[in-house]
Symmetry: C2
Subunit: 323 residues, 2 copies
């Protein structure tokens, strides 16, 4: 009995390198490569969609053409740009790059914590000015971090911050006292109540209707003077205007790897505010990251072709891999 090869649509964008394992994928399936503009023409008859261009939201527009789609793999941690109601209500399986970015982003967060407490950016500014200016720094051991988001990346971050002696808690959907990585997890729906004793606030929650704007003006106001915000999740988790206003006063500072509009528009005050440290959505992208994403898809594909569902699935109602 000969079985027909399933079709994989590879959704990418101009200038994005192709998956390192594409030859193997081609051996196992019929691959059609497209970009957002040609997705609707490419989807009919395809069972599998690999969203390789991680910022694409093109599927919603092309959904009418997805007549055979059964599985979508998104080569990214966040699936917020992908999801829409018809997909949520369908039986199509969605998987993501779970695990790939956990360690890299945790390290990036620790880098931001240490840069802040050891005043590295200020020291560089003095060097540029030719000034030898001794200052005291802050002991990181014992500093208080709140990690908002208790998925894989948040957990890896909590473990790493604990490993250097920080006092770490989590914020998630369910308050609890016995979490293996966080110990205490506070209710993220009541975030403002838990910010008064936070030195480093780490935003790493998935973007959903429940988390959009969760760090707004009231929450920012609840942070103590000198607190440091790190956003490695999604720009829309934060009320960016409110944060910009706090940074402008000098009361808070921030490392923002994500912003509401990317690239950050020319002229945005975040480019030049002294306490705003902007990076271009790169916190998890360590050397070899695309190869790791490619290998993860290939592993999942083999599982699929063997008749099993790749796991874990994204909970499309919640907008992330749950539990």
């Amino acid at each position: 009995m000969t079985q027909e090869k399933p079709t994989v649509v590879l959704l990418t964008a101009d200038g994005v390198p192709e998956p390192a394992d594409l030859a193997e994928v081609r051996d196992l399936t019929d691959v059609r490569v497209c970009t957002a503009g040609t997705l609707a023409d490419t989807l009919p008859g395809a069972e599998i969609l690999l969203v390789w261009d991680i910022f694409s939201g093109a599927l919603s527009d092309a959904w009418h053409a997805a007549d055979s789609l059964r599985w979508i793999h998104v080569a990214a941690a966040g699936v917020d740009a992908l999801l829409f109601d018809e997909l949520r209500e369908s039986d199509v399986l969605v998987t993501n790059a779970r695990g790939v970015f956990d360690g890299p982003i945790a390290e990036y967060v620790l880098a931001c914590v240490l840069a802040h407490d050891k005043r590295l950016h200020e020291t560089e500014a003095f060097q540029r000015a030719g000034q030898w200016r001794h200052r005291e720094t802050i002991r990181v051991a014992g500093r208080r971090a709140l990690v908002v988001g208790t998925g894989g990346i948040g957990r890896a971050t909590a473990r790493l911050l604990r490993a250097v002696g920080m006092d770490v808690r989590g914020a998630g959907r369910r308050e609890r006292d016995d979490d293996e990585d966080f110990g205490h997890v506070v209710d993220s729906a009541d975030l403002a109540a838990h910010l008064r004793e936070v030195d480093h606030l780490v935003m790493v929650a998935p973007l959903t209707e429940a988390t959009r704007g969760m760090l707004g003006a009231p929450e920012l106001a609840a942070l103590p003077d000198g607190a440091h915000v790190i956003n490695v999740g999604r720009g829309e988790l934060v009320d960016q205007d409110a944060l910009t206003a706090e940074l402008a006063t000098g009361r808070l500072s921030a490392h923002l790897d994500v912003v509401v509009v990317e690239p950050l528009p020319v002229g945005d005050p975040l480019w030049t505010l002294e306490g705003a440290h902007i990076s271009p959505h790169m916190s998890g992208d360590v050397e070899g990251w695309r190869d790791t994403l490619s290998a993860q898809f290939l592993t999942h594909l083999r599982t699929w072709l063997g008749g099993d569902e790749p796991a874990p699935a994204v909970d499309k109602g919640r907008g992330y891999v749950s539990g």
Copy 2:
């Protein structure tokens, strides 16, 4: 029976805050405060010298006046600026700020490692230029560090770098394979032989005749392209001209918290070389550091007044606390 209070000479400098515990020290002893210029006039009859101005080398000039001196406490980790032959040959006990800087400097080293591997300085430069430029970073877990110096600071550094998953070895006076903090320790007298597979080289050895210039042109040449040098020990551990030449080619980069002449002279190329990150001898100076130093002296003083010797003593022959 009334016992006379011993005299403590407090050697400080203009603009340096006095010890927080000075009132308690005055209760226990007769305190005479002086600076380098008045040390010789102040020393006669004094049993104890507290070197509170950590960069002072004044004692050598005033040694003839040290007619009753039995104990010197240096409120610093390195005693290289204090030691001279007559002191080495005398019975005067020397103690230092052992332990105070271990954790803070270890954190500073980790900050430098992460700033390098996560390309934070480059990201700041792109931000200043208004450029949104995605780049890949380096996974810190698995990176290879060699910590040159196996005293308390080196050990704390090794433990912290290991805690974030780095592959750490030490370099010290005695090669061994069973060190509790380093695992493998290579012979620092043969440093060049052990540098070919080092990503981060951490200089934290005491400055002695054996270690002066230990990182010279041959050693620097042995480091692989892209290696990163962190010096939190003493500037003279490194052949600064040779390092400057390597930085100028872009082959290596460095975080230097210490340099040969401090402050770094105006016009020195290290001020402006892209791969040279200069900080003004502050790696261990966390908020409260002077209070910690003061409390350490007070504890030692009480031990002394109780008839015991504060410990551990500096091995004056070697130039550091040994073993």
